[in-house]
């Protein structure tokens, strides 16, 4: 019961006025960000990192703010899914299937309240999963040497590309591109500049925050410019809310779905490379197969709202497990959170639990608190967030671009970084058009130097003998999982892949 004792310490850290205030602010901002179509968790967190960073917040409060935004965005995504049939972010895609039909039947308020409860249940139990699973994973991770870490990084890229991408070769390209960008700068071990082309600004390498903000946030602005005027949905088209309550009977009927979807979502979240989108997709699909006897799914069945919402919120919690315990993020947003930790000079992984237990447990306690706040914010105040939907993109998108620029300029005060950010914005737009996933790029930029360092350390230990990479049962297991994770989805085919519609929403959707 070490975990429980540590959790109590965590509550002692999280329960300060400053941290509670930051959690509340994060939950509020997160819900707004999640509500707005086109702005999702990874965009929201990406824009706010430089801001939190330049504000000089210490690690724990900064992390509390940003993970509250992350959880909040997961809650917020459902609002526009239900009211407008437009997912507020990618994980909320599946919620449109039954949420919007419910709204058309005049049960919008019920759908919103029910999905709020489902989100709470999913996130609540997933956070408990995080409490108990991460220390176990840490014990395994303590056995890892450089060769194991190298294999683990390969595994993360392989499953990320294998599971979430439609075209594995493009995912592999994206990973290589990200790693290549990470190589820019002075080599840490020999002090030799690489790919700097004599430009002093490049000696420090490309700041990953600049890359993230450009790829995610700025490219979103370009996508909006491209599709301007095609689907002008706003709060005015929203269905009337009706009463925002859940009948007890509905709760009872959906409790089984809630439980199953939470478990499935959590597992999907923990697997490296599979984030909340996959969690909600698998939860909905399985639930449909299991309980949809009368064919009511897709026509406004409350269980069809509960399954994806419990699933994606549970996955959001699950995705934090590998990020904190191994330092290998399981999804786009956790990759962005990892960037935050690295920017604060904190290296996640097993040592985080021994060196900075206050950060880990303070964060987990804050997640419990934030989750309660979100439930309280989301059911009575949902009308307020609905009003946010009426902010048109012509105001929203310039604001996003400018806040992104403010954050980047705030870090370094460098014009060069701003120009690089614009370059990444264009790159992000082109890659999205070509259906090249952005998350492996980000992961590559983040992990590239760590991955190389581990490879070189392993080969230094073995004196240049490459067989060390497969020299232990652990490495062989990791390589096997990596290969299976990359190859199996090609064979099994389309079942596990999210079929995204070829629309502006699909293309512009924010990865979770």
């Amino acid at each position: 019961m070490d975990a429980l004792a540590s959790l109590m310490d965590g509550f002692a850290i999280a329960l300060t006025w400053q941290n509670l205030g930051l959690a509340l602010l994060g939950c509020f901002l997160g819900t707004i960000i999640g509500t707005m179509p086109g702005l999702g968790p990874s965009n929201g967190v990406a824009i706010l990192i430089p801001v939190a960073f330049t504000l000089g917040l210490p690690a724990t409060p900064a992390l509390i703010l940003l993970t509250s935004v992350y959880y909040g965005a997961m809650y917020g995504g459902r609002i526009s899914s239900i009211l407008l049939n437009i997912p507020g972010d990618e994980p909320a895609m599946m919620t449109t299937l039954d949420g919007y039909p419910m709204a058309r039947q005049g049960r919008a308020g019920e759908a919103l309240a029910l999905s709020g409860v489902a989100s709470f249940v999913g996130a609540f139990f997933a956070t408990w999963g995080l409490v108990f699973l991460s220390p176990l994973l840490v014990k395994v991770a303590l056995l890892f040497g450089p060769a194991e870490y190298f294999a683990l990084f390969v595994l993360a890229f392989a499953t990320l590309g294998g599971v979430t991408s439609r075209n594995q070769s493009k995912a592999a390209f994206a990973a290589a591109l990200g790693l290549a960008i990470a190589m820019i700068g002075v080599d840490g071990q020999t002090g030799m500049p690489r790919y700097t082309f004599g430009n002093v600004h490049l000696y420090d390498g490309i700041d990953f925050l600049v890359a993230i903000v450009g790829l995610f946030a700025l490219s979103e602005v370009f996508i909006f410019l491209e599709h301007r005027g095609e689907s002008e949905a706003s709060g005015k088209d929203a269905k009337p809310l009706g009463r925002i309550t859940v009948p007890l009977k509905t709760l009872k009927e959906t409790s089984g779905t809630m439980g199953r979807s939470t478990i499935i979502g959590f597992i999907a979240g923990v697997l490296p490379g599979a984030g909340a989108s996959l969690g909600s997709f698998v939860a909905y699909t399985l639930e449909k197969r299991m309980v949809d006897r009368k064919g009511t799914f897709g026509k406004g069945d409350p269980r069809g709202v509960v399954a994806p919402e419990a699933g994606n919120n549970a996955a959001a919690g699950g995705a934090l497990v590998p990020m904190l315990a191994l330092g290998v993020p399981g999804s786009g947003t956790t990759a962005v959170l990892l960037a935050m930790l690295l920017a604060l000079n904190i290296t996640p992984g097993p040592l985080l639990f021994t060196n900075n237990p206050d950060v880990v447990w303070g964060l987990i306690a804050a997640l419990f608190i934030g989750n309660l706040m979100l439930l309280a914010l989301n059911i009575p105040l949902v009308g307020l967030f609905v009003r946010v939907l009426s902010v048109p993109p012509r105001i929203l998108m310039p604001t996003v671009a400018m806040v992104a620029a403010v954050g980047i300029y705030g870090i370094s005060g460098s014009t060069f970084d701003l120009l690089v950010m614009v370059g990444f914005g264009v790159l992000g737009w082109v890659l999205r058009k070509l259906d090249v996933p952005l998350v492996p790029v980000i992961l590559g930029v983040l992990l590239g130097n760590l991955m190389e360092a581990n490879l070189r350390r392993a080969l230094t230990i073995s004196n240049g003998d490459w067989s060390i990479l497969v020299g232990s049962p652990l490495t062989i297991t990791l390589w096997t999982v990596a290969i299976v994770g990359f190859v199996l989805p090609m064979i099994v085919g389309r079942f596990f892949r999210i079929r995204r519609a070829h629309t502006a929403a699909g293309e512009g959707a924010d990865p979770d």
Partner: protein
């Protein structure tokens, strides 16, 4: 010519350039067994391999926007570039108001609405981030 073929071709060139550059990296006096060249060469190899599949079996081309929209995006890129360069010259408030107004106009605001939006966004960010949160923003010749 499908987009994916172009993508694969450009990717291959990029990979080749990346590997060639890796071979040009100077070796230090003392080095680990692997040295600074090997990992980039591996990455370049993976990149090149990944580019072969789209060359052989390209996906369907995406719907590229018509020329007008491409110009819109180009304009936005130009605005952001000019903004980056102007920020330290004319200060945050002016640069941001102008850039936000142009973006808002191109996203569908009427000219007057765009000006109001631009000024509103600029002042709003200034108040929230600078006056309330105390973030350092670019100062122009007039101190704001």
């Amino acid at each position: 010519m499908s987009s994916d073929r172009v993508f694969g071709g450009v990717g291959l060139l990029l990979a080749a350039f990346f590997i060639w550059q890796a071979t040009q990296v100077e070796l230090g006096f003392s080095s680990d067994p692997l040295g600074p060249r090997a990992f980039p060469i591996i990455i370049g190899g993976v990149m090149a391999l990944a580019c072969i599949y789209p060359l052989i079996r390209p996906d369907e081309s995406p719907d590229w926007p018509p020329l007008g929209r491409l110009l819109e995006i180009a304009l936005a890129v130009a605005v952001m570039t000019a903004y980056s360069l102007a920020l330290s010259e004319v200060g945050f408030l002016l640069a941001t108001a102008v850039a936000a107004a142009i973006l808002s106009w191109r996203l569908g605001s009427r000219p007057l609405g765009a000006v109001i939006a631009g000024v509103g966004i600029s002042v709003g960010i200034y108040v929230v981030f600078h006056l309330i949160l105390g973030l350092a923003l670019a100062r122009g010749p007039w101190g704001f």
